[in-house]
């Protein structure tokens, strides 16, 4: 058997050990795998000097990504968004997502990145549905940002009536309806005050 030597100092006294470490696929979760580590007692360097961990890491990442793809696609189905309508909106060949889901074909890294984006920002599908029109996409984005903002705002209960976002073909606006401002009537939605309007 070939003697293993330290790639830095040439010492043949390498010490091999095993340890466990998590491989993490950002939103895809993590899995614990076995790794090897070589340490050189003569120069102090340590590492996977002979590439023994590469395959295990690659397999763990591949398994995590496959599970993530299935879970993202299941999430859309559970929310009554059909895979065929996503394929149409994103201009993907029909059945592409079904094949990814059942393992008949594997998504590319770009495909997985696309799925991650639409999982985090489902309104990107609405942008695609509107043919990536810049003006419409800005309104969709702002509408979603307003909704997020409202959910984080704190109101004084005695003065607050309601808050919301109204998106129409021509504009998106955020309104906050307070008891004190009942004389203002906007857009036919009753006594509401448009705080920000994107037209």
């Amino acid at each position: 058997m070939e003697k293993l030597i330290c790639p830095a100092c040439g010492s043949s006294n390498l010490v091999k050990s095993n340890y466990h470490e998590y491989v993490t696929e950002n939103i895809g979760g993590q899995v614990l795998i076995d790794k090897v580590l070589y340490q050189c007692p003569d120069c102090g360097l340590e590492g996977d000097f002979f590439n023994e961990n590469e395959l295990a890491i690659e397999k763990a990442l591949s398994d995590l990504k496959n599970k993530l793809v299935v879970s993202i696609l299941d999430g859309f189905t559970e929310n009554k968004v059909s895979l065929s309508s996503i394929e149409r909106a994103l201009d993907l060949p029909q059945r592409t997502l079904t094949k990814w889901k059942n393992g008949a074909s594997a998504p590319t890294s770009a495909g997985i990145a696309l799925l991650k984006f639409i999982k985090l920002f489902p309104w990107l599908l609405e942008v695609a549905e509107n043919k990536f029109d810049y003006e419409i996409s800005q309104k969709i984005f702002m509408g979603n940002a307003f909704q997020k903002m409202i959910s984080k705002m704190t109101f004084i209960e005695s003065e607050f009536k309601e808050a919301g976002v109204i998106t129409s073909a021509n504009s998106t606006f955020l309104y906050i309806h307070m008891h004190k401002n009942e004389d203002i009537n906007a857009m036919g939605y009753g006594n509401i005050t448009p705080m920000v309007t994107i037209s």
């Binding site: 030597i5 830095a8 100092c9 040439g10 491989v23 340590e46």
Partner: protein, 96 residues
């Protein structure tokens, strides 16, 4: 002044991957800073000129070199990728 040619190292990461051995600490940082999880991910990134605004920091003798008759130096660089700045860990080249 750097002791070694960084562009030779970058070329090596692209063309002669077996001649480059990343240390554990370098791979750990590549993973935590840039999500580069394997040696091949890391070398592909470097070999594809992924290190932007590469700047030489300093050079010093490798203190732990057991062979005192042959001096080995370590060049340190800093670089950016997207908006992250990092110090490039000293690298080692496999003995030929």
């Amino acid at each position: 002044m750097p002791k070694y040619d960084i562009f030779e190292f970058i070329r090596c990461c692209d063309e002669n991957k077996n001649d480059v051995v990343p240390l554990k600490s370098a791979l750990d940082d590549a993973n935590s800073c840039f999500g580069l999880k394997t040696k091949s991910n890391l070398l592909d990134f470097i070999g594809n000129n992924g290190m932007e605004d590469l700047k030489f920091v300093n050079t010093k003798e490798w203190e732990n070199n057991p062979d005192k008759t042959f001096k080995i130096y370590v060049d340190a660089y800093e670089f950016r990728s997207m908006c992250n700045w990092v110090i490039l860990h000293p690298y080692i080249m496999k003995r030929r």
